[in-house]
Symmetry: C2
Subunit: 290 residues, 2 copies
């Protein structure tokens, strides 16, 4: 529907920000300076028939809402702390809302997130629309934005991707909080974001924000057993981390953490995806804007 990047650019103009806002609209999180701390803030929605189906259990839908917000904090290298929840429903009973909230609470407990407030309301027609705003703390080394990639940096992605929606993984995944924090604290990530709308589309966003071109070899990215390329490169909702690093990595040093795959290199440019021959990368579709 709305072209996200285009509208985000217009919104940036609409919404001037104060000096205590270190990063505003357009990254995974906004970055604020508050009382000696660096705070992160982001909001995401889950909508019935868009982000989950009428058959999805309310517990699973609530869990997804919390987890996808936590993933935005992970993408900055931060630690999630507090959440504010709104739920608007029609045609569902109170038990549905409580079960949805229980899903949020269960996922919040995994990350020591306190759900501190919110609002419930009625929708005029049957459906469920829920939003969550997450607040977190940046790592002591500073938040990792999308815009710090430099020519020469290597391009990575954590874990495996593909077929998240059909497999049900979009409802039950572990946001890469520990991995994002490890990368940030060891200065291993010059730019980072999470894969929400598709590997290629999100990589292109990093490239645009950093004003570099990316020479990519997406066939080097491991897929889940039930996923196929090239579809997997634009499926989205993988909630893995795409990051660039000045260093060549095989895996993250902490053995508890997942492997990372190098699937490209940053070169001077203006935000394009290029194939290994330096020609514009050909793809039917980059990703999916929900």
């Amino acid at each position: 529907m709305l072209e996200e990047l285009k509208i985000v650019r217009q919104l940036e103009k609409l919404f001037p920000v104060g000096r205590d806002v270190l990063t505003g609209i357009g990254d995974d999180c906004a970055v604020l300076s508050v009382g000696g701390k660096i705070l992160l803030a982001a909001a995401d929605q889950v909508i019935e028939n868009i982000h989950f189906t009428p058959e999805t259990s309310p517990v699973a839908a609530g869990k997804k809402l919390l987890l996808r917000n936590v993933s935005d904090i992970a993408a900055m290298g931060g630690a999630p702390r507090w959440a504010i929840l709104t739920v608007a429903v029609n045609g569902r009973d109170e038990q549905y809302v409580l079960d949805f909230c229980r899903g949020v609470a269960e996922a919040a407990a995994l990350f020591d997130v306190s759900v501190i407030g919110g609002d419930t309301a009625s929708l005029p027609a049957k459906g469920v629309v829920a939003t969550l705003t997450i607040l977190g703390e940046a790592p002591p080394t500073g938040a990792v934005t999308r815009s710090g990639a430099k020519p020469g940096d290597y391009l990575y992605v954590t874990g495996r991707i593909g077929n998240s929606f059909l497999s049900g993984r979009h409802l039950d995944f572990m946001p890469r909080v520990a991995e994002g924090r490890f990368l940030a604290e060891h200065h291993l990530a010059s730019a980072m974001l999470d894969v929400s709308d598709g590997l290629l589309l999100d990589a292109a966003r990093l490239a645009k924000a950093s004003q570099v071109d990316l020479l990519i070899e997406p066939e080097k990215v491991p897929l889940h057993a039930d996923a196929c390329a090239p579809q997997a490169w634009s499926d989205g909702e993988d909630y893995e981390l795409i990051f660039t690093s000045p260093e060549k990595l095989e895996k993250l040093e902490d053995e508890a953490l997942v492997p990372v795959s190098c699937w490209g290199r940053c070169v001077s440019g203006s935000g394009r995806l290029l194939d290994r021959d330096g020609k514009p990368f050909q793809s039917e579709r980059l990703g999916y804007e929900h």
Copy 2:
């Protein structure tokens, strides 16, 4: 639809909070300790055909969303600072969304609020659902909650009330930020909340949270010229401040501020509204839960 108080009580049990959460679910704002600051956080929604009509201009609807959130910060005596916005639409074009956001931006500018992030999404059916999370700073004297009223305190409300929806005032009002802050900083408010769902219903919430009974004389509350009692006492969306004070006030001392009306007194009790004879206050309806 959902009984707000009942569901809020269940949610309080679902959502345990960390020690840095000074006030959680159930007040106008959550209160957080962050670094050396006390932060306030609240979220509210506006939904087409619930909080505004299809004829309402998107600018006005956006403005209302920001203002009603600012009113929650005012109700704690705080200063609004940052906002995170989500908009989900179907059957509206990009210009509608931009106009809605312009309304948010115009209202934000009135209060020096920075809109720092958010999300846009599609709804599966025609409509508009928007939410805003507001963050603010508590006054140096501490946030004023709903629960601090003591027997002997006087009950006040700022300004005039009634007929907010039909008159259009629900779309264009000035949240009582300066008044709330003045009351907090001069220790004139022992408990406070804003009138969102109706004078009587919101007063009953203050009484329950503070565990006092309120002897009320709502006929002492001035009405707008186009409003009638007793309807005005339950109309809601007045966005005036109800507060209790240990002191007898005629008006707020600063001449720039609005008159306040004393319309009751706190006595020992358990959260009931009583008439001047101490009998349960008789009312067809206390208010409206949106």
